[in-house]
Symmetry: C2
Subunit: 345 residues, 2 copies
């Protein structure tokens, strides 16, 4: 395959981290990205170069381009944490070389060279060779959400209780977890922000769906927690909502923060609960989980592909935006609820 | 020994928990206690009745009588979590019976029948038979602080780093821990609220002593943390001070809350640190530690007695207040810094 020397990409305009965090919504692309043309990169020995077919936009991407994620930005490099494509060149190490020509789902966290471009660079170890039965839309969103769902549901299962709580219940991630939970007889309690999301969430597997904007939210929350005794809290939101939930949870509860959709202060309402009720507050990061659970990766990856192949899982698509139109169109598409937005180079 | 039928005691006037938390200072005794005369209690089979010689006043006692501690108050029962005395009657089980006539340090957490009285009831398992070389002042304050010091320093040692942080550095507990740390080459960083406490804390073993009221406190804190890289934070204070310390600590730090001297809101400044820096927030409660570490209790108790006997440890005494004068005099004595206040029946 002959490679071009240049390519189009959405390039970061900021360096490092922001000093002025601004929440999770993407009001516009311009402050953070510009469309540009740069040289096609060369993979290192352990890496591959991928001709990108489709790249996903996750909440972590938005946090990253705004300088609010756990990795520092490098100005002038392409953004985008995951996608699907075919391996167009390899760095030469045996495992990388073995991927030549293959269609793969890939994550760029370790290479820090993004997917929103004609070509992306990923560590070979961060690529998943795909079954033909997996759609591009599912493959392009196969790592960040599905592996996180399997990993976090594993934490729930280790806890020994059937009930657990999730915020941001209408997210793709929570819908995946709710589905897993329903199959195995678990009882997810989820919060959403719109009444119309309630039937959808019940359908995918949530046992209780609470609208955090409802006037009686906190009273209902306390009642449901009392009845279900959930001890694991998977939290993408933080702020006052998460503080209220953690406060109402029973002894030995764990508040596991994996996102921060609310920029409001996050208060530990009753620090005495940490002492006398043995409650814990911790975090979850897929990169860290992958580092600590290398042995669980293979089975999790195969499980995700099976679920997408047989239709138990399916990615809801809000829009597929051509890369040339992304600067103008992505923010409005992202603001729509319930589905995922993709960039197509 | 003939027992009287009645006894004097400081009795709780509140039940359960307060609905209006009011900080850690004891403004007056009257809202929470009254001096009264009640029947001498009868120990259950696993318990002993102790003729109290001296009882300590700890911050946990103040929190308890105000309804701000992890155990509910029972109106009309005596307060007081620990003391020293001689066993005047036993409940009959073999271990309890074996304590008859012995001088013991005792804790009343499990019996929930307090030490601020002529006679107290304790589980035999919560009594420590004393060496003659241990002074009453040390024995009456031997469980809550010294065992907590040994237990929490054990957590520091397991961490593998030499530096760690403590708030409320001028407390008896922190002085005990600083002494242990100095002997074993550890480097405690402590916060205090008065400049005159700095030389005292350096003498007992603190490597860095920071005045939290100093104008340059936060800048100095960041500098010291950068140099020492402490990963364990033993916190008796919570509120903005603790939030600032935890925020400045390095990756994989643990914020271990064991007290709440500050009633101000406790904010997790950067929840993202839980995710990307693998920080944790948890609690420490001696009762829970004793439950989980029964095997460590014997050696810890013997170590404490040795240290008090040979003078490596010594309890600083602010005042010994007769029980009849306690209602009037305790609050003013407790407000004095650097030492412990005792009640003498």
């Amino acid at each position: 395959m002959t490679l071009p020397s240049e390519m189009k990409a959405l390039l970061l305009t900021g360096d490092g981290y922001t000093k002025t965090p601004s929440g999770s919504a993407l009001e516009a692309m311009e402050p953070y990205l510009e469309q540009g043309t740069i040289a096609v990169p060369t993979p290192r020995p352990s890496q591959v170069l991928i001709k990108v077919s489709l790249a996903a936009i996750n909440p972590s991407d938005v946090a990253f381009i705004k300088g609010q994620y756990g990795q520092p930005r490098v100005k002038g490099q392409p953004a985008g944490f995951e996608g699907v494509g075919s391996v167009a060149a390899t760095g030469g190490e045996p495992y990388a070389a073995g991927l030549a020509g293959k269609r793969v789902a890939f994550a760029t966290g370790l290479s820090n060279w993004g997917a929103w471009a004609d070509y992306a660079v990923a560590e070979a170890a961060s690529c998943i060779p795909l079954l033909d039965t997996v759609r591009d839309e599912d493959a392009a969103a196969m790592i960040v959400n599905p592996l996180t769902a399997l990993a976090m549901f594993d934490i729930v299962k280790q806890d020994g209780e059937k009930a657990f709580i999730m915020t941001a219940g209408a997210s793709q991630l929570c819908k995946l977890i709710a589905g897993l939970a329903k199959e195995e007889g678990y009882r997810p309690i989820v919060t959403v922000r719109r009444d119309e999301q309630i039937p959808l969430l019940k359908e995918v597997g949530a046992t209780h769906v609470l609208n955090e904007k409802a006037a009686d939210f906190e009273a209902t929350l306390i009642e449901v927690i009392k009845a279900e005794q959930p001890r694991i809290f998977l939290d993408a939101v933080t702020g006052p909502l998460a503080s209220a939930i953690f406060n109402a949870m029973p002894k030995r509860s764990r508040w596991i923060v994996y996102g921060r959709l609310d920029a409001e202060p996050t208060v530990i309402r009753e620090p005495g609960q940490l002492i006398f009720q043995h409650k814990h507050i911790e975090g979850f990061w897929l990169a860290e989980w992958m580092r600590q659970h290398r042995d669980s990766m293979g089975p999790a990856v195969m499980e995700a592909q099976k679920r997408f192949s047989d239709g138990r899982w399916s990615t809801d698509v809000t829009a597929v935006v051509p890369l040339e139109e992304a600067m103008a169109k992505v923010p409005a598409e992202l603001a729509k609820p319930n589905g995922k937005v993709f960039i197509k180079p």
